[in-house]
């Protein structure tokens, strides 16, 4: 079991968790993710690691409540535990001294892009960050991003904060501006990444996207996460999650990500109709696992977070 030490609301429906996971904290590199299962009836979902502290033995996750599991997770508080967390999985971001690097974060993608932005800056790049959100209350981690970036630009769809418009509008300006851009990383909703890919396709600027496909194991064992890259099947969990934007078939990604849409909606509706019920189950399980762990009389597996 993995204990939640701290939580913080970052924006509407977006929550940050600091979680005890010493093994993962020791090994995590920017761009990697974990697979999380909340409780015994839970599904396995991937979440990118936003930060880690190897000395404290903690990792940080930033979660936007979209489906059942993420909404349920966001109801948990410090002192609660998560049943299973495994990682760090996937290939780390390729950090080099590129020159000028543009890091684009859409919505919760900002949290995922942050560690890579920080690493790029440390590697000597001039980092320009662009944060995109639907409106002001969804802009997250602005301060942290400003700290690691040389320039930060904010775009909101409704113009309630920063520039009104899409992140690609800002990107266009930068690409046609006086300074050369050497590297672009875009993390966010699929339509945003697709738009960025389209924008940079003929510019020759190396553009990377991080793909959020549906996963089960996260270790290359099921192939459910496969995406079409350069017309070939690649496993996002082991070959990615980062790929060259222009090689990615975003249509297939969108189609595959909608494979379970009806069921996901049903599960979310059931949860929201009676959230107390599920929370109670989770908390009862936590107690059970805790008792088993201290008595050594476990009936199911106990995870050692250290």
């Amino acid at each position: 079991m993995f204990r939640i030490l701290e939580t913080r609301e970052l924006g509407r429906g977006v929550k940050m968790f600091v979680i005890e996971a010493a093994r993962i904290a020791r090994k995590q590199k920017p761009g990697q993710f974990v697979i999380v299962r909340l409780y015994e009836h839970g599904e396995r979902i991937p979440l990118t690691i936003a930060d880690s502290d190897p000395h404290e033995g903690t990792i940080t996750l930033v979660v936007q409540g979209i489906g059942k599991t993420t909404c349920l997770l966001n109801m948990l508080e410090a002192g609660d535990s998560i049943l299973d967390i495994v990682g760090p999985l996937g290939k780390p971001s390729e950090i080099q001294h590129y020159g000028t690097a543009v890091v684009i974060g859409g919505g919760v993608g900002t949290a995922i892009a942050l560690p890579t932005a920080r690493a790029l800056r440390q590697a000597g790049n001039y980092v320009i960050s662009i944060l995109g959100a639907r409106s002001r209350d969804l802009v997250i981690l602005e301060e942290e991003v400003r700290k690691v970036s040389n320039e930060t630009h904010i775009c909101t769809d409704d113009g309630t904060y920063g520039r009104k418009g899409l992140v690609t509008d800002k990107l266009k300006d930068l690409l046609s501006g006086p300074y050369p851009i050497d590297y672009i990383l875009a993390i966010g909703p699929v339509p945003m990444m697709r738009a960025v890919a389209k924008e940079t396709k003929f510019t020759g600027v190396k553009t990377i996207v991080s793909l959020n496909s549906i996963m089960v194991d996260g270790t290359g064992m099921c192939g459910g996460c496969r995406v079409l890259v350069n017309k070939k099947n690649q496993f996002a969990c082991v070959d990615g999650p980062e790929f060259e934007a222009e090689a990615v078939n975003f249509d297939v990604l969108t189609e595959r990500n909608s494979a379970y849409r009806d069921k996901e909606q049903q599960a979310l509706k059931d949860l929201l109709a009676n959230p107390e019920h599920e929370l109670e189950i989770i908390r009862m399980e936590m107690k059970k696992h805790f008792v088993e762990a201290i008595s050594g009389e476990e009936t199911s597996e106990v995870n050692h977070a250290s």
């Binding site: 093994r23 009836h41 059942k68 192939g223 459910g224 099947n233 595959r256 379970y260 049903q266 599960a267």
Partner: protein, 477 residues
Amino acid sequence: MPPNPLPNKERMKIQRQHMPEQDAQQRTHNFKEVNLGLPVERARQEALRCIACAKPTCMIECPVGVKVREFLDLILAEDYLGAAAKIREDNALPAITGRVCPQEDQCEGACILNKKGDSLAIGYLERFVADYEQKTGKLGLPPVARKTGKKVAIVGSGPAGLSCAGDLIQKGHEVRVFEALHELGGVLVYGIPEFRLPRDIVRQEIHNLRRMGVEFETNVVVGKTVTIDELMQNERYDAVFIATGAGLPVFLNIPGEHLVGVFSANEFLTRVNLMRGYRFPEYDEPLYDCKDKDVVVIGGGNTAMDAVRTSLRLGAKSAALLYRRSEAEMPARKEEVAHARQEGVDFQMLVNPVEFLGDEHGRLRSVRCQRMELGEPDASGRRRPVPIAGSEFTRPAALAIIAVGTTANPMIQSSTPDLKTNKWRYIEADPETQRTSKRGVFAGGDIVTGGATVILAMGAGRKAAKSVHEYLTTGSW
């Protein structure tokens, strides 16, 4: 009096006992075990059939050399716990192998009774005594030797890892099993469905190991969460046994494989078995709907049988097995083939898919196939299937499940550069000692041989335990 009072002629008159099973109509609507197990009188009757031939070929053909004759005698003497203990001397997981071993290729295939009629039902009897032991709860745990102070890490909790852990803990070593998934058991829990191998049986074996002192740590992907070198240097393990299986799915590399509705058998079975997707919404992991859909499964091994029979239980309108050779070449256990047929699986032999076709939403609608014929034998000795020109046809399908084999997961190999692998990235290990090219590191099971069987993996685990112990006590490599 000898345990078997009957003269040979009488013994040979007894018919092979039938395994009582759940009715085929009924069982396609549930995930309960198909085989119900022999009642005690029938087990004794079956044991009487052994003619105690001079050369016990059954034992010779058993990959781990179970002393078949001795355990049969104990059954006849009504000492069922003794019989179980006798099997356990060579086979750590009798309740499991009694259910999933390909007996027809091993002990039963070699049985002399085969020549005149039906072989002795050794698998049924193995299962009988193992179940008896579990039912009475009287499994006497073997004694554990004094602590040696040595630490062994085992990577992977499939049959190879579990059997190695069981042997090493008895020798007094500290043993910790690291498993990537959240549940222990390897293929036994994520691959093989409950209607063949109930989960409780695997859980019980793991529970026994825990009681003997084996420690388990789930959610550790060795190679990612921690490397072999870190285990040995930072966490001070004296030896490591790698038993990570052959978990990577092989795809067909034909057009349309990215479509929604095309699955690897690993994914399909994992969602059902490990994640319990068939109990959605009680369990959260969703399944892609099989209900009233046409399902095709590609392959002819146990995995293909498990997938196709699972799809029937999920309410498939039709469930077809497409296999590019003929039934005689199918590697699946005979019993599974028979069960699949009883349950209504449509066997399409000498058929090979060439393309998956989808609709405008990227969802699978049909499979284009070609018919095959058998040509000259290939390297495996089996006749090579060759396409028949102009034989292409299309059949409707909403789900296609690919079960044409698996290969090595390279995570450990790529993070342990001094570990020698062969050209398919399986780990090289001495077949007798299971030693790898790296000092203190052993490997066995599917990660060495490629996809094989539970009993072979278990046998490799036991061999490894023996030579790990030798290494830890002598220190020589």
